[in-house]
Structures are given as structure tokens and as C-alpha cells.
């Protein structure tokens, strides 16, 4: 079943002269992990906002086209309704804390209280996400006392507790240190294993290569290409879009080491290592 259908989506922010999205169309299947790449101001964040309904319900402006999330039309449903199907995590962990709650446990409950979920179910879901995102130790802490990585995991937990089928992550680790980023990427992997459909914008290209089933390359409000990572990272014009292929792909490309079955260059450390070792063996 198609989880996301976007048809000819055009959007212009209020007071802006240029279209931020210039007629975007694509579809995503349930359970897919999609990486979104491209340079700053390419429209990646705007697309994220359009998927969860912040565009056009929070940011007004000129909007046309059709976005359907799990059969729900974004234009016809408000953000609260949509939040049952799709959630979003932003860059800055700090501003995703509501500041109205004093503990991690209560913070996670915030969205559920608003949705009117009954208490027993709320508690069950909180326990589940605390475990899933490895936050049990911190459940009684004040959210503002957490490290960046922990805070971002809390933001993810708070969204996942609302049981969305799709989660959008807009550069979730760009403001974290390596350890915090690693924690968050691990958490995202476990969401993917749970069958949640993931749309992740990320500059760390090696991570996209490692996790994504398909990669969407955006530029100037348009989708330039949408394909498996191996094919996206093969493009000769990639640098023009502000993206450099993973170093593993570039090594193997320089040495012309391909995967025999697919005829494509590897994109991850593990795959590159295996192919290079096999290559050496064949030579000697």
C-alpha cells in the first residue's frame, strides 16, 4: 500500500516571490526508508513541512497539488488529525521540548493527552517508547537536563508514542556531537525495524548510504532524481547539487571495483571492504 502520494505539489511561502516547491510528485511504500539529500535551501525542509501539514496549515501561502498521507488528504485535514498518521522531528532538540512538563515521562505524555488517549493506553505507550529509545534511565529527569542526543531521542519518543505510520526526520543529528548522533541513528534504525516508514533529510552522506532504501535528490524546489543509493551516487553531476558521494563509492569508482551482480559501485564501508578484498584475491 502507498503510504505517501505527492502529486504536482507547488508551494510559495507568504511574502516570498519564488516557489519553494515547484511541482513535486513521488510515491513511497509502507516500511521504506527514504533519504532526502541536496544543498541548503533546495526545499528539503519545506517538503518535510508539507508532508506533516505544517505547510499549508501553519505556514499559509500559495499551495496547489495533492498530498496524501495514508489515505488522508493533507489540505483537508488539520495538523492534529494528521499527527495520528505522520510525525516529524526537527533539527533543534531544545525547541522540541514543550517546557510545560517537568519529567521525561510527562513530556512524552503531552501529545497523548492532547489526543485524548486514555490513561492506561498512555502509560503503556510511554513504557514502550522509553524502552525503544533507551530512555528508561532518564524517565524522571527534567527534559532540559538531558544531553543533546538524549533530548533528540526524547523528541523522537514523544512523536513515536503518538503511533504514526510515518516519521519525518529533518536533519535530526546536525546539532549533535558524534556520540549523540550515533545514539540517534541507532534509535532511527530501531524505528525502521518496527516497520515505520521513514523520510530522513541528512547531510551525513555516509549515513544515508548506510540506511536508505531509496534516496531523493532535491535541488531548487524540485526532485532531480529518486532511486536506490547506488544509482544516485553514481551520477556525474552530483557535486553540482551540493552532494559528494560517500568516500567508499569514490574509492571503488577510482579503482573500478563494482558489484558483479548489480554492476554498481558500493556505497557502504562493509560492502566496499568486501568488494575490495575480493578484488585483491582475484588479482593475486
Amino acid at each position: 500500500m502507498k503510504k505517501i502520494i505527492v502529486e504536482n505539489l507547488k508551494y510559495r511561502y507568504p511574502l516570498s516571490e519564488n516557489l519553494a516547491l515547484k511541482g513535486i510528485s513521488f510515491e513511497v511504500e509502507g516500511g521504506e526508508f527514504i533519504g532526502i539529500i541536496g544543498r541548503n535551501l533546495a526545499g528539503k525542509s519545506t517538503l518535510c513541512q508539507a508532508l506533516v501539514g505544517l505547510v499549508p496549515h501553519f505556514y499559509k501561502g500559495a499551495y496547489s497539488g495533492n498530498v496524501e498521507i495514508s489515505g488522508m488528504n493533507v489540505l483537508e485535514n488539520n495538523i492534529s488529525e494528521l499527527s495520528k498518521k505522520i510525525g516529524i522531528v526537527f533539527q533543534n532538540p531544545f525547541t522540541q521540548i514543550t517546557a510545560a512538563k517537568l519529567t521525561v515521562y510527562e513530556e512524552i505524555a503531552f501529545g497523548l493527552e492532547n489526543m485524548g488517549i486514555e490513561i492506561k493506553e498512555t502509560i503503556r505507550r510511554i513504557e514502550y517508547v522509553l524502552h525503544l529509545l533507551d530512555l528508561e534511565k532518564y524517565k524522571d529527569r527534567n527534559p532540559f537536563e538531558l544531553s543533546g542526543g538524549q533530548m533528540q531521542r526524547l523528541a523522537i519518543a514523544s512523536i513515536i508514542a503518538m503511533k504514526p505510520e510515518i516519521i519525518v526526520l529533518d536533519e535530526p543529528t546536525s546539532q549533535l556531537d558524534p556520540q549523540g548522533s550515533e545514539e540517534v541513528f541507532k534509535a532511527i534504525q530501531s524505528l525502521s525495524r518496527e516497520g515505520i516508514t521513514i523520510m530522513m533529510v541528512e547531510q551525513k552522506i555516509e549515513k544515508i548510504a548506510q540506511y536508505a532504501d531509496r534516496v531523493m535528490l532535491m535541488s531548487d524546489g524540485e526532485v532531480v532524481d529518486f532511486d536506490v543509493p547506488q544509482k544516485i551516487f553514481l551520477r556525474d553531476d552530483l557535486l553540482n547539487y551540493g552532494v559528494q558521494a560517500p568516500v567508499f563509492t569514490r574509492v571503488c569508482r577510482s579503482l573500478n571495483i563494482k558489484n558483479k551482480n548489480t554492476g554498481l559501485y558500493p556505497v557502504t564501508l562493509d560492502e566496499a571492504y568486501e568488494l575490495m578484498v575480493r578484488h585483491e584475491q582475484n588479482r593475486s
Binding site: R39, N40, S147, P178, Q179, G242, Q244, V251, A272
Partner: protein
């Protein structure tokens, strides 16, 4: 000589909680990266260099001047620092005025300040944004503005705290070039960074901080060779270094080209 001398530096915000536990370091005109996980004391250390904090014990000399004996504003003539969050400093309604704020404060004349600011904005490829309101621009552009605002002060020592946050590939290239150029012009550059690929490319020297102590200090090759120590500080080698190590090479490769050249010579 652009020299920083750090002697037996100890620092704590509160009694009994030592953040920096005795550091002896000398910096000369070169590009140095300081790496370490959050809470290792990196930002505290550069704030001490900048005079924003005073040592609990020990001394810091910036070009011979003890930081405890001059005000931060005076020290600003010698040492510039780009902070992590651009929103902590931007307050003017025009990009050019924001960039000129620092130069004017440290005694540059109007013409000189304007010239330096325009040049710095050009380096950051922001020449077409000179008259815009910084808050109409994106966060990544605001970050580049703050870098320009420090470059325009033309200090002999420049510190960058996480310059690549929220930058894309082009932004990173610009910052990389700036750091290399400053070092080439004989400035003393210190960069705090999390992106190891970036560190490997810009630094002649790498210092690893862990829990308030220097656990490694050497050339990028030397430091990134010690993946055992790096792991203990929750740090990783650059991607290319990891691949080569797994392939069994006994030397550290920090750049793709370096590795390809080596292989070519090998065959």
C-alpha cells in the same frame, strides 16, 4: 610571533568539579583542531583562551599577555572567535553593519572596517546579501555571516567553535578554504569540530581532549592512527582511514587522493 602559551591550566566552575585538569600547551602559527566528545572541556578551554573565563589555577599568555591582566574587549584585537550559535550575536538589521560591528569596536576606522567587511563577505560568497536583514536569511547563511564578522576583525589568532554545523557541502568547502588560507597567511587557527573528515582535511595538528585532559596531541596522521585511544574518547577515525585500516594498511590515510596515489606507487 602568534603564540599562545598555556601553563598548568586548571579550571572549575564549582569547587570540587574540575572541568580542566592541568593542561600545558603551546600553540604557534598553524592550524590545530581540538576534538573530543561533548563535556570534554573543549568550549571551556577556548573560552579561557579568549579571556571569557579566568583560570582557577595556572596561566594563559596570548602573545605574551596574561589573560587575567587584560579585559576581554582589549584581547579581542588579538584573538577572534566564531561561536556555535549565530543567533547569539546578530543584532543589526543589515548584514554589512553586523560584520562591521567587531572591526569598529577594536578601533578600525570606518573605511578600513568597511573594506575588511566587504572582503570577508566576499570570501563567504555573501557579496549579494550585503544589504539584507540577517534574520531574513537561513541559519546556515547567518553562520557564514558570523564567520565573516570575525574575519573582518583581522585578528592574528582565530578560533572556530563547530563552524560546520548546519552547513551543506558547499558551505563546508568555503569554511575549509578559509581555515587553510588563514593558516597559509601565518595566522594561528584553532578549530573545535565533530566532523572527522573535516578535521583530517584542515588540521596540521590535532589535540584530543577527554574529561578535561589532553589524551593525544600530534599531527593528524599520528592522532588518527591511535583508534584505540580515540574509541575510549567516543571518537571515530575519518571514513577513509577506517576503510584502509580494515584493508590492513599499516599507515594512516587521511584523504582519498593520498590513498589512491599510494596504491598507484605500490603497483
Amino acid at each position: 610571533m602568534n603564540r599562545i602559551e598555556v601553563k598548568n591550566l586548571r579550571f572549575s566552575y564549582r569547587r570540587g568539579e574540575e572541568i580542566l585538569k592541568g593542561m600545558d600547551l603551546t600553540f604557534d602559527s598553524e592550524s590545530t583542531a581540538i576534538i573530543g566528545q561533548n563535556g570534554a572541556g573543549k568550549t571551556t578551554f577556548v573560552k579561557l583562551l579568549k579571556g571569557l573565563l579566568k583560570p582557577t589555577e595556572g596561566d594563559i599568555f596570548i602573545k605574551g599577555k596574561n589573560t587575567t591582566e587584560v579585559t576581554v574587549a582589549k584581547l579581542a584585537k588579538e584573538i577572534g572567535m566564531v561561536f556555535q550559535n549565530p543567533n547569539d550575536q546578530i543584532f543589526k538589521s543589515k548584514v554589512i553593519d553586523e560584520v562591521m560591528f567587531g572591526p569598529l569596536n577594536i578601533g578600525q576606522g570606518m573605511e578600513e572596517a568597511k573594506g575588511n567587511s566587504l572582503k570577508a563577505l566576499e570570501l563567504m560568497e555573501l557579496s549579494d546579501k550585503v544589504d539584507e536583514n540577517p534574520y531574513d536569511l537561513s541559519l546556515s547563511e547567518r553562520k557564514l555571516i558570523t564567520i565573516a564578522s570575525i574575519l573582518a576583525m583581522d585578528t592574528d589568532i582565530v578560533i572556530f567553535d563547530e563552524p560546520t554545523i548546519s552547513q551543506d557541502y558547499f558551505g563546508k568547502i568555503r569554511i575549509k578554504n578559509i581555515v587553510k588560507e588563514l593558516a597559509a597567511r601565518g595566522k594561528l587557527v584553532i578549530t573545535i569540530a565533530h566532523d572527522m573528515d573535516f578535521v583530517a582535511e584542515i588540521s596540521e595538528r590535532v589535540i584530543v581532549l577527554n574529561k578535561g585532559e589532553v589524551i593525544l596531541d600530534g599531527s593528524a596522521e599520528e592522532v588518527f592512527l591511535r583508534d584505540d585511544i580515540l574509541k575510549s574518547a567516543y571518537l571515530e577515525q575519518p571514513n577513509i582511514t577506517q576503510l584502509c585500516k580494515r584493508l590492513g594498511y599499516d599507515r594512516t590515510f587521511l584523504a582519498l587522493k593520498e590513498f589512491l596515489d599510494y596504491r598507484l606507487a605500490e603497483n
